[in-house]
């Protein structure tokens, strides 16, 4: 084993206390699904089943308890006048995007978890501790991206760990390492964000006006108090085209209004009861 291998493969020295994440640049994605397979191989995840979906070349449909990287395929061969021949530089007209857990800055799954199984690691990533999770499943509807899911065989919640075990060993996460075209880039979030902004400017200069970032501060995806997403994306179509919410929100923001309103109503009704009893006395 090579110490600090990520320095060689990603130019990143992995140190606790820093924020790590993914910058997934869809304009470099060739839809090879190496990330999906590398993830399943490293994390020993089973196949989800054999279904020819007809959804272009996407036969694994979405993220699940046993699919932590998922490549979406969107065919937009016709755009304007007929089927494309001259196209924007880099990926266009057949969109492919490798989706993954966003490792939100304010992660609704983590905030929902009543056991502390979901925790923030020393690498600023969000991980389910399998030895603590009791399968309450509350993180599942909490996630605004539809990422985390229960496995019905082991009764625990599962999602991308950003290869927590590999990070501890100084290794780049499996998907990023397997990505042949650097569509998935692993690194420190701040540096990735900087790189991503630069990439968007470059693309705009090349005439790819549709390029934008999803999940960096002040952008779609980083909405509703979620803060930034440690795993963020460069997209060229509306977020919904990739099955991403345009402006997701932090579920825990709704605890206060709901609980205070409910308790006020309960108090009101209790007072009403007291009044009624007192009046009848």
């Amino acid at each position: 084993m090579i110490p600090d291998e990520a320095e060689l493969t990603a130019g990143v020295k992995i140190e606790p206390g820093k924020s790590y994440g993914f910058f997934t640049d869809t304009t470099r994605c060739i839809g090879c699904k190496a990330c999906e397979v590398a993830c399943k191989e490293w994390n020993l995840l089973p196949a989800d089943g054999l279904h020819l979906t007809g959804m272009s070349y996407d036969n694994t449909v979405g993220l699940s308890a046993s699919t932590w990287r998922h490549v979406a395929f969107i065919e937009k061969i016709s755009d304007g006048d007929g089927r494309a021949t001259e196209m924007a530089p880099y990926q266009s007209n057949w969109l492919m995007m490798s989706d993954v857990c966003k490792h939100c800055h304010n992660a609704p799954c983590l905030e929902a978890c009543p056991t502390g199984a979901l925790f923030r690691t020393e690498f600023d990533t969000v991980v389910v501790q399998q030895d603590i999770c009791n399968g309450c499943g509350y993180c599942v509807p909490a996630c605004p991206f539809g990422v985390v899911e229960l496995n019905m065989i082991d009764g625990k919640a599962h999602k991308c760990t950003l290869c927590y075990d590999r990070l501890k060993g100084g290794l780049e996460p499996a998907c990023a390492k397997a990505c042949p075209t650097d569509s998935i880039q692993f690194g420190e979030v701040g540096e990735l964000q900087q790189r991503a902004h630069q990439r968007v400017s470059e693309l705009h200069e090349l005439g790819v006006d549709s390029a934008y970032l999803y999940g960096v501060p002040n952008s779609p995806g980083a909405t509703g108090d979620l803060g930034h997403l440690n795993a963020f994306f460069l997209l060229t179509a509306e977020p919904e085209a990739y099955n991403l919410p345009a402006a997701p929100s932090r579920a825990s923001n709704r605890v206060g209004p709901s609980l205070s309103f409910g308790l006020a109503a309960a108090a009101g009704l209790a007072l009403a009861a007291a009044a009624l009893f007192g009046w009848q006395k």
Partner: protein
């Protein structure tokens, strides 16, 4: 073109994207809009098999508009060479060239030669069927330079012939033949020709999308012509890249697994050629000029490596022991020979011919004729289970109890369970170690072949029969280790590298090889891969780093001589200066009076750029090439725009239709390649031109998610789920016409067979207007079969056995078929 690089060579596509980052324009020309097209700047849809029409159009565009790179092409190609006055071009003979013999259905090559000089081919088949004594005629090459007219005015210069030949390949004809809209074609022509000159280069990438045609060799040739005209060969960022198969296909060509070559492109002795003795063989196969003049050194060193002490000068170093071929023994005719009961036993290693071979149902019936069949793989393949699960068995045509074939399924080790080398597309040899022991009885191919050889030698040890002598004489001793007596792959690589005889010191470079028996070398191009006993260069992993020149000479070993760009003399101008600072690779260092550069120079290190051969002394070999002849493997050192020898289907790429086509050739009366190898027999019918029963063009292809015959990926759940079953792709227009809905079952049929699959309706395919007719193309991945998790009918049931005249490569990329909605059998 001819390559779906992003899908089938995703790792290599990394470098395409890096080129894009530096401003390259990516052009994808393909019958289907693929994941490669998605990353391209321009996508051109074309009809499968019409590539030469497209490339010919580009050549015409370059010549018509005078866009070729003058300094490069005039000096480094045979553009100004004068061809025999008897030569007649396809433009004059409606698609045929002069020398056509309708009786033998083949060409006589006399009229294709340089005026007054015969030119040997640069590879394997050096034999030209001229009337004059061959060696006599070749010897004229030593007497003076080939006849040239640098003014290009002579009507029989290659330049004038090219102009005449490609004049008919107008943008209009390109559109009518390929279906690619004229505007798109012109856009591409413009972008491509911009990548030319001192400052810029451009590259072509191809793969089996070109080779799997009856005109495959000429498609590649057409790209080579373009690149030579634009000055894009032997220069950084230039070239014609053959993207080879993942399973070390380049290595299997080098060593090789081909029937007509000995290791590293030495011709296999032929019974019908003057190869009776070593002297005759060497005499007839050694070109007098150019690098191949070294041929005897490689041949004798190979014999020494094979026969060791048994090889002596008096027994011609063992040359008589090498078996002679008598004709075409490639896979297609061999399959037919099995069908006809000529071949009784078969080894299948690293292949799944029931899936990958043309006319699969015929193959399965043929295999039922074998006495024995050995299949080595890591799981049961369709080839191993055809006798109880195959298509003819399921249809009731054959019954397992009637099939007498004895099948031996031998478990094979996987890549991490054995050591060895991979040779990639860029001739880069990389060694890999064994990570774990193979489970159970699984063994490496090397171990299997080695121990088989040991047993054969033991079996014949006491034989005095002359026919057993080759087995007895073979050097077959490699150190083994472990419980399984696994032979050392490094020991084999050492032998491939070569060593001195008899003291066995590793040689450092190909130039040390001798023809007197004092060196042994298994693969002359690999000389230098293991230069010292303890130095395996293929194991080296030293990259240049971001500031280095980018040739990465410390990473692995690129044959020959660890050279990264072959013919890199062309990276410097005729005076020996780099064409530009930007495109600097090698240069003539006037001070040191030698060539220098970032790469291993592909030229005689001290030959001055202004060197001229002294013809009065009848120079041989490299001495006969001037200082401006980068293409040293060719007898005149010049890139062959026009190929006098070595090709069976013409000296210039010419558009012929695939053997099965819905249309008549829009360019010539000659429909398809006149010399394509065809086997018309009841189990291998071809569809006539425009047969209304088979109106659609079918092209077969691969998916990123599966590997070749599918064995390694269909049998693994996490890759099988990515593309879980066979399907076809068709246009929405065709689907509408036939009432087919997304994911409906459909039946595809040809005269070879019928299969069913689900339909993916997609705009990634589009109908094409060919000569005023609307042609629909259907695509089908050919990975699937009945074994593993991801299953589907075998696409190759539809294909026929037909071959390229030069290589006998099949034509799986372009054929015709019928399509209907429904299932094969009522469910």
């Amino acid at each position: 073109m001819g390559s779906n690089l992003a899908e089938n060579h995703p790792i290599a596509f990394r470098f395409v994207l890096q080129a894009k980052d530096k401003g390259a324009t990516i052009i994808h020309v393909d019958p289907r809009f693929t994941r490669t097209s998605a990353l391209a700047d321009i996508y051109a849809p074309i009809r499968a098999g019409s590539d030469i029409a497209f490339l010919g159009g580009l050549i015409n565009y370059i010549l018509e508009r005078d866009l070729w790179f003058k300094e490069y092409a005039l000096n480094y190609t045979n553009l100004s060479t004068i061809i025999d006055e008897r030569f007649q071009d396809a433009s004059a003979l409606d698609g045929l060239f002069s020398g056509w013999d309708p009786d033998s259905r083949s060409y006589k090559y006399d009229s294709w030669q340089y005026q007054g000089e015969d030119v040997p081919a640069s590879i394997a088949e050096h034999y030209v069927n001229t009337t004059e004594s061959y060696s006599e005629k070749l010897r004229r090459l030593e007497k003076g330079p080939p006849p040239r007219d640098p003014t290009l005015k002579h009507p029989n210069t290659v330049y004038q012939i090219l102009k005449r030949h490609y004049a008919v390949y107008t943008p209009e004809k390109v559109e009518a033949t390929t279906g690619c809209p004229r505007a798109v074609f012109l856009k591409i022509a413009e972008a491509l020709t911009r990548a030319s000159g001192r400052e810029r280069t451009g590259a072509f990438c191809y793969a089996v999308g070109w080779t799997h045609h009856t005109t495959g060799v000429q498609m590649i040739r057409a790209a080579a012509v373009i690149q030579a005209l634009l000055g894009n060969t032997g220069r950084p960022g230039g070239g014609v890249f053959a993207f080879r198969g993942h399973s070390s296909i380049q290595g299997s060509t080098d060593i090789p697994t081909l029937y007509n070559m000995l290791p590293s492109y030495l011709p296999q002795p032929q019974a019908h050629k003057p190869h009776a003795t070593l002297d005759e063989y060497l005499q007839s196969e050694t070109p007098p000029t150019g690098f191949w003049n070294n041929f005897p050194k490689y041949a004798v060193s190979l014999l020494r490596a094979w026969y060791g002490d048994h090889a002596t000068k008096s027994n011609q170093w063992g040359f008589p022991w090498i078996p002679r071929i008598v004709g075409d023994h490639s896979q297609l005719p061999m399959t037919l020979a099995i069908a006809d009961g000529v071949i009784r036993g078969l080894f299948v290693l690293g292949q799944n011919p029931v899936i990958g071979g043309s006319n699969s149902a015929m193959i399965q019936r043929a295999f039922a004729n074998l006495d024995w069949l050995v299949v080595r793989d890591f799981t049961e393949t369709e080839t191993a289970s055809f006798w109880y699960a195959g298509k003819p068995v399921r249809s009731g045509e054959l019954r397992p109890q009637d099939i007498k074939t004895e099948v031996f399924l031998m478990p094979g080790a996987l890549i991490g369970e054995k050591e060895g080398t991979f040779t990639g597309t860029h001739r880069l040899v990389q060694f890999h170690d064994k990570i774990v022991e193979p489970p159970g009885e699984a063994r490496s191919e090397l171990g299997f072949i080695y121990h088989l050889g040991r047993r054969l030698q033991a079996l014949y040890a006491d034989s005095t029969d002359e026919k057993d002598a080759p087995v007895k004489a073979l050097t077959w001793e490699y150190p083994t280790s472990g419980e399984t007596d696994e032979p050392s792959a490094e020991a084999v690589l050492k032998e491939m590298n070569g060593f001195t005889w008899p003291d066995r010191r590793q040689i450092g470079d190909v130039h040390e090889l001798k023809d007197d028996g004092s060196t042994a070398c298994g693969v002359w191009t690999y000389a230098g891969v293991f230069p010292k006993d303890d130095h395996n260069q293929a194991r080296s992993r030293r990259p240049d780093g971001p500031d280095g020149p980018g040739t990465h000479l410390g990473w692995g070993f690129a044959w020959p001589s660890n050279r990264r760009t072959i013919y890199n003399r062309a990276a410097a101008d005729p005076e020996g200066r780099p064409w530009s600072e930007r495109k600097k690779l090698i240069w003539w260092d006037a001070e040191k009076q030698r060539w220098d550069g970032y790469d291993v120079v592909d030229f005689e290190p001290e030959k001055r750029p202004d060197y001229e051969p002294d013809w009065s002394r009848h120079p041989k070999g490299m001495a006969a090439l001037d200082g401006r002849s980068p293409f040293t493997m060719i007898a005149d050192g010049k890139s062959s725009l026009f190929v006098p020898s070595g090709l069976k289907d013409g000296p210039l790429p010419t558009h012929y239709e695939p053997i099965e086509s819905p249309v008549h050739n829009p360019l010539y009366g000659q429909q398809s390649s006149p010399v394509a190898k065809q086997w018309r027999r009841p189990d291998n019918h071809y569809h006539p031109v425009g047969d209304p029963r088979f109106p659609y063009v079918l092209t077969t292809y691969r998916l990123t998610e599966h590997h070749a015959g599918g064995t390694p990926t269909r049998s693994v759940a996490v890759t099988a789920e990515l593309q879980p079953e066979g399907f076809i792709e068709l246009t929405p227009e065709l689907a509408d016409g036939l009432g087919i809905k997304h994911l409906d079952w459909v039946v595809l049929s040809t005269l070879r067979g019928e299969i069913e699959a689900k339909a993916l309706i997609t705009e990634r395919l589009r109908p094409l207007e060919i000569s005023g007719r609307r042609i629909h193309q259907i695509g089908m991945p050919w990975h699937f079969g009945w074994e593993g998790y991801a299953k589907g009918d075998i696409a190759n049931v539809l294909t026929s056995v037909v071959g390229d005249a030069n290589t006998t490569m099949h034509e799986g990329k372009a054929l015709t078929c019928n399509l209907r909605k429904g299932r094969l059998r009522p469910q």
